[in-house]
Amino acid sequence: MRLWSRLRSWSSATVGRSRMESEMDAELRFHMEVYAEDLVRGGVQREEAMRRARLEFGGIERVKEEGREARGANLIDNLVQDLRYGLRMLRKNPGFTALVVVILGLGIGANAAVFSVLRSVLLRPLPYRNPEQLTMLWVTDSRPRGWAVTDGSTSYRDFLEWHRQAHTFEDLAIFYKRGWSVVTLTGEEPEKVQGAFVSANLFTLMGVQPLLGRAFSEENLQHRERVVILSHGLWQSRFGGSLEALGHDIYIDDKPWRVVGVMPPQFRFPFLAGNWENRVEGEVQLWAPLTTNPYEEPSSSDSFNLTRPQGVARFQVIARLNPNMPLQAAQAEMDTIAARLALQYPDSDKTLGVQVRRLKEYIAGEMRRPLLLLSLCVLLLLLLASTNLATLFLARGVARAREFAVRAAIGATRWRAIRQLLTESVLLGIIAGGAGVLLAGPALHLIVALSPLTVPRLDETRIDTAVLVFSFLLALLCGLGFGLAPARRFSAADPHELLKTGQQITASSTLGIQGLLVGAQFALSLVLLASTSLLIRSFVEVLALDPGFRPDHILTMNVQFANPDATPPARMDDYYQRAWERLHKIPGVQAVGTVGNIFFLEENQNHALRQVEGHPPEPVDSWTPLVWTQVSGDYFRAMAIPLLQGRYFTPQDGPESPPVAIINQTLAKRYWPGEDPIGKRLKGFDPRGRNDEWVTVVGLVGDMRSHGLEREPMAEIYEVQAQRGEATPNLIVRTSADPMQLAPTIRSTLRSLDKSVILSGISTMQDVLREQTAARRFQAWLMGLFSALALLLAAVGVYGVMHYFVTQRIPEIGVRMAFGACGKDIVSLFMRRAMRFAGAGLAVGLVLALWSASLIKRMLFGVTNTDPLSFLGALSLLILVALSATYFPARRATRVDPMVALRYE
């Protein structure tokens, strides 16, 4: 109440300044007039009465001034005065002002952009009802790799047990994503769309209702009805946002599915995790009842797929905690249930546990670390910028020492001087903050555009109020920070000494604070520079890797049949055969082949072979990654994977002939080290051939880095598609000219053979490989940019400090030169002083840089985290910067004419 009245009175005194003045006037006038009237009534002459009233009232202006003071109106007056003066100072030094605004604006802009990313990815609540209650139930498995469940999925049977037994949850729902569902709409070209199969209660559990239509009912699930709910995006693109979409059919794999609902635009589930794979697959665009997966074998039981003895682990479970239920309680309950299930179903569940994870943490998952690292980098950059500005302000303060001495001499209090300096620096800070916010928008676009990963919720990022407040606070803090050091220093100086000489403040102790700041800048720059050079060296190492094939002049695309699981192998084989023949006839095409998967970028499981001729069975713990790859046509020639021994596949390797395989070097080394592998025989865990025949090795090819560029090649066995019968959707075409020029011809040729094939992902092999290095490229660019800025700041900082230092010591230089010091002495004197601080900073920085390099150890490739080249390089670059930034100001000192210098005083 009292605070309120004080605020009200203060605001009426400041905002309503003119009104307060006129009211005060009226009130005082009223007083004197009434008093005069009283006097008149007492018999005094009118004019005499007025005179006495004024006299007895006292000094009216003093009363008014005291009144203003009492209401706090002067506070604003002083502030306005300071601001005006500050603005005048800034205008008077446009170069200095621009430098500060640019330096600080960059720092604040970068921070605002990164903060807004951080906010939307990690901080902002998920767009579901009471999102803090949502958790994922993630299965853990203690079995060795190769057998273990690694994707956290569970079986339907276990889900039903959880649902029945768990009481800490309001509800549990189940879903799974189906990679590459195929949607065909009548009369349109087929398109690949990501879909999710969900339980009926999922939407209710998330607390999001469809925008149009309805969610799935239990009947939909029980009767396995082919109904779908569309995403807002799909509804817009395929139905133009028309209300008629409801009740319409869309065609998925040649079968009609009825549209029963459309979700609101902001609804997404499941969220994409941050990895490259998902960037290719895209967001989930439609949802279907859990039981309707056309790829599932039909089951007579209504609780679907329970017929399988142990249930297939494929389902993800989302659960809503009871209100105010702590996570630990739910975790404890799930531990008990998991232990119970392990006893009940020892065959399948003995090694399984359940982890209750908050949905938000699950979604942000992998992005947490890189984002926090990025924030740390930009904060470091801002710290650097502020340190830099502090040195600039200190240096400028030296030049303004006389001004402050005059102010102090004519009665300005110490507090008033501090306030004046702080007003100036905060004003600068806020102007720079405004520039920073303007910069943040483009910076954000740049981050989003360059980001190599699908960062969940990144597209929701924008510059909003919270970001503005954050930037403002940052600007304020910086302004106070770099204003405080000079303010304290110059307000403490003795005005008499200053006025007498104007030089007192430039005693060598000044370089003390400034030197420290310069040292700190060099330390921070070294940290950034060393980390950057480690990351750039890693990037270069990755680029220099031999992928095991020649990626130039290759066109790749994905060729899929509308319903691959229902397409007979013979038809596929026939299509491929005809396609190659036609493609070969296109001028410029050198070799054509197809392959099941080119790259296996996910964490690959360890595998072994069931039987290898002349080789005992391998114990599970010596298993290593191993894949079977189906190829057809001239795959090896198209990729230019070298044949080391034996032969390539030929058209004679057909379904009727004995099964053959080509192996890579890693596999040969694993089973037949030092032996000739040709003619050796093996069997996989799946039966091969018609009667589980032996597969004979007919060729040995070089390793290619199919496990991802940065991972060692893994054991690979190539089979021919004609014998195996699985789809090999990835087309590889080697061309003699620019591969993209042939793309339209190849595309129309393929579609002319079969209208129903779906072509996607048309790109050159070099672009495909570039995707794999995109994260590193992004890192290298970003860190390179940061380091360049840091370097620039450090150079500006040390140059500015030295420049002022030299200017202030011109008399001393004059004396020294008058006594016979030569130019070289002066230069080395100044350089020694400056380098002492730079050197100390670099020593501290080296320790910090080694420590921070150990933090990013996992992000390095091909270099150790103590790589001498990176550290020495960064160190010598900074020393060079320090030397040149001190040399030029120091040399200027030697040009001083001793006579002029001595007279300077």
Partner: protein, 113 residues
């Protein structure tokens, strides 16, 4: 007139609060009332009243409002707020205790020491 006393430091606030506690008054009215109650024994510098009024208003002890004076003129009226009432009571009590103590000390006879 020569019997008038100068105001003790810090007591003007209390007197103003007392004056307006009896009903809303304009500045001149407050001056008159204090003089009337004190039977003209106190001398108050007219101008010094206003800074004190503004200070009290700023602190929320009194509130002001424009109204019409007895002779149909616009005047600013001050009245006591609830917070001001509590403040006044506390101040008055403190004052009374103080004067009791001082009076007791001053009234002490030599033989009582």
């Amino acid at each position: 007139m020569d019997k008038q006393l100068d105001l003790l430091q810090g007591t003007l606030d209390m007197l103003i609060l007392k004056a307006v506690s009896l009903g809303p008054l304009h500045g001149y009215g407050i001056l008159l009332r204090i003089q009337q109650i004190s039977k003209d024994r106190l001398e108050i510098q007219q101008g010094s009243l206003y800074p004190a009024l503004y200070r009290l208003e700023h602190q929320g002890w009194i509130a002001s409002e424009w109204g019409e004076s007895e002779n149909k003129r616009k005047a600013k009226y001050y009245r006591l707020t609830a917070a001001g009432k509590r403040k006044f009571q506390a101040e008055a009590e403190k004052w009374n205790r103080m004067t009791d103590v001082i009076a007791a000390i001053l009234g002490t006879k030599p033989e009582e020491v």
